[in-house]
């Protein structure tokens, strides 16, 4: 096992453990921190996939913006995290069984599947930029519009004025 592989395994473990923490802790704040951990792991995995740009994006946007926003939300509204009532064992069991079933089903599907042969080419950031401005320009613009709408929507929704 070379270094790359062991680092890969480490990243994988971090990712999964972070994900586990993000759902398992009862305290909301810990959940958010675990999510950050998990996202770091995913960013690392992206590097292994030769998607350095994406890894950077993951860190900047996901961790730097999204997670932080969640943490801010948690901290700004303190009583909210208290409202996580204890989970009932039956509900936990139900969730676990469902998730396990889905996992089993998916894994069976994936392990039995045969995939098409890829080109083996390594992607380039330049390609991504080109694609975003040529073939994918329409969805790209649509996403920008969605973002704009979301920002405006969020502002409208969270503005403190009283509604009738």
């Amino acid at each position: 096992m070379n270094l790359a592989d062991s680092v890969f395994i480490g990243l994988a473990v971090v990712t999964v453990l972070g994900a586990l923490g993000a759902v398992a802790f009862r305290a909301l704040f810990y959940n958010a921190l675990s999510l950050v951990l998990c996202l770091f792991g995913v960013a690392g995995l992206f590097i292994y996939l030769h998607a350095e740009f994406l890894a950077v994006m993951e860190v900047i946007i996901y961790i730097g913006a999204i997670s932080v926003a969640i943490i801010f939300a948690i901290m700004l509204s303190r009583p909210m995290d208290k409202s996580d009532e204890p989970r009932s064992p039956s509900a936990s069991l139900r969730g676990a069984v469902c998730a396990a079933l889905v996992f089993a089903g998916l894994w069976r599907l994936l392990s039995g599947a045969r995939w098409a042969q890829g080109s083996g080419q390594l992607p380039d950031m330049r390609d991504i930029g080109k694609a975003l401005l040529t073939t994918d320009v329409l969805p790209f613009e649509a996403v920008s519009l969605v973002l704009l709408v979301a920002i405006i929507g969020a502002l409208v929704l969270s503005s403190p004025r009283e509604r009738s």
């Binding site: 990712t15 909301l28 996202l39 998607a51 913006a65 098409a116 694609a131 969270s158």
Partner: protein, 103 residues
Amino acid sequence: MSATLQPYLLISTLLLCLGLYGVLTRRNLIAVLISLELILNSASLNFVAFGRFHMADPSAGQVFAIFIIALAAAEVCVALSLILLLFRQRRSVDPASMDQLKG
């Protein structure tokens, strides 16, 4: 080991299922939102992995992942404000209590 698809698929499936577990069991909407982020991440991981190994156009998977990240940002931003609004109005963010449509 990192040069095949299988480990990535395993990780993303695990992320997905943990996310599902969270969505199904958590009784706080922010926690549910966190779980959703896990699911989204599993999806983008899948996209990138498939793009790396099994796709003619190497950039396609990454472009998708970029879109996912952007949409996730939008989603979180709206969802958080909705949750805050809901909390302000009902003093509860328990998804189990949201059953007003029940006959």
